[in-house]
């Protein structure tokens, strides 16, 4: 079991709890058979899938070494309960797979609702959400490519983590390393989430002690990105990465 290297502060708690239902999306179970990659896009919390993410969240985007390629096929599956993405293996050194969603939610006395302020009465909080997931599929397990698709990006130093080493990441917002972003790391063997913050160069790291798939979640709220319908924009990006 891990311990939190930082006590959870008020702003971290605020940014976590105001993300819709506390859900994240993530990508796992990468397989390649008969020249075809498959991956599961899941939606839930602490890497436990809840239900398939809404259809308009499941925007799957794929890049190879040369740029964006055709969007993978997608379908809803029951095991695990979520989406499956399928795309051909054309031999790229690195594929970068994203799920990239945008939605607006409001809170009033009756709870959470999808929609903007103009759609509901008594709104106490309104926020646009960019909820995203990222996964690297690296031929050599090391190269991370050079794709930056999201506004809030997590870039690992290497495509595969090694037990006994440090996991090192840089977090970018609008293409620039950003200080003070809340990072949540999680491994299914852990009971607790690990809370971290990026340093002045946007970097964050933790010790890799467990084999398997880690989820590294960055959360950031930009209060300047607002409109008549919402007061701020929350970004949540989950990178899943394997350790061996």
């Amino acid at each position: 079991m891990k311990t939190n290297p930082l006590a959870i502060d008020e702003e971290t708690m605020r940014s976590c709890t105001r993300q819709v239902y506390g859900h994240e999306m993530w990508i796992q179970d990468i397989r390649c058979e008969d020249g075809e990659f498959t991956a599961h896009g899941l939606y839930g919390h602490k890497m436990l899938p809840d239900k398939p993410m809404p259809t308009d969240y499941a925007n799957v985007v794929l890049y190879d070494d040369d740029g964006r390629v055709a969007d993978p096929e997608r379908e809803i599956v029951n095991r695990p309960r979520g989406w499956r993405f399928i795309f051909p293996d054309e031999g790229a050194d690195v594929y970068t797979l994203y799920i990239d969603s945008n939605s607006v939610w409001v809170t009033n006395d009756e709870g959470w609702h999808r929609g903007g302020k103009r759609d509901y009465s008594g709104v106490t909080h309104s926020e646009a959400f960019n909820m995203a997931a990222k996964r690297l599929i690296s031929r050599d397990g090391v190269s991370v490519g050079n794709v930056m698709h999201l506004e809030l990006e997590i870039v690992p130093e290497k495509a595969t983590l090694k037990v006994g080493e440090k996991a090192n990441f840089t977090v970018f917002y609008e293409g620039v390393p950003i200080k003070g972003v809340k990072i949540i790391a999680y491994h299914p063997a852990w009971q607790d989430l690990m809370f971290l913050k990026t340093d002045a160069e946007g970097k964050v790291s933790f010790d890799v002690k467990d084999v398997g798939t880690y989820a590294v979640i960055a959360k950031y709220t930009d209060e300047e990105k607002c409109s008549e319908d919402f007061d701020e924009t929350g970004f949540s990006t989950t990178l899943t990465i394997d350790a061996e």
Binding site: P52, M53, P54, T55, D56, E73, E75, I76, N78, R79
Partner: protein
């Protein structure tokens, strides 16, 4: 929670080449029906759509439940021809012969976002007809929800390929 898989009847009667399924016991068991309706509701709880399309006949009971809980209009795609409303139709060939399915023309407007709910999916021709009728009137399909998918027919990989489709029960899992 009721194990719905145990309430459904399925088997291969003598002289029949493929698996037969019968979900009527679910409708007759109040607790099982509650669970089934709840699951169908959960399929669409966070989706964004304007109208619920029911594919007759038993699809209507699930669709009506979702429409009521989500406060959305319910539109039925079926064989009955209203003499009082203009409809558009599509004909499909089935094992039992040709069927003409209809939808009221003014039930779907340009840009209407629809979900389609059905009870049992086999070849998928009726669901595809509903998809085409909605699209033909300018609407779009957000997602299809099916209570029981008969996977032998491979409808999701063939006729309905590319359309988001979620099923509560898939026969290959039974």
């Amino acid at each position: 929670m009721v194990e719905l898989e145990k309430v459904i009847l399925f088997g291969t009667p003598e002289g029949i080449s493929h698996l037969q399924v019968d979900i009527s016991p679910v409708l007759e068991d109040a607790e099982a029906f509650d669970d089934a309706r709840e699951y169908m509701y959960q399929m669409f709880e966070r989706e964004v759509y304007d109208v619920v399309i029911a594919v007759e006949s038993a699809g209507t009971v699930f669709a009506a439940s979702v429409a009521e809980r989500m406060h959305r209009p319910l539109v039925i795609v079926g064989e009955r021809d209203s003499m009082l409303r203009e409809t558009v139709s599509g004909t499909i060939e089935t094992y039992h012969g040709a069927r003409t399915l209809r939808i009221p023309r003014d039930s779907i407007k340009q840009g209407t976002r629809a979900i389609i709910i059905g009870d049992v999916l086999s070849h998928g021709k009726d669901v595809l007809a509903a998809v085409n009728l909605v699209r033909g009137l300018g609407g779009s399909i957000v997602k299809i929800g099916i209570f029981l998918e008969h996977s032998d027919f491979k409808a999701r990989r063939k006729l309905l390929k590319g359309i988001p489709l979620e099923s509560r029960i898939i026969t290959e899992d039974l």
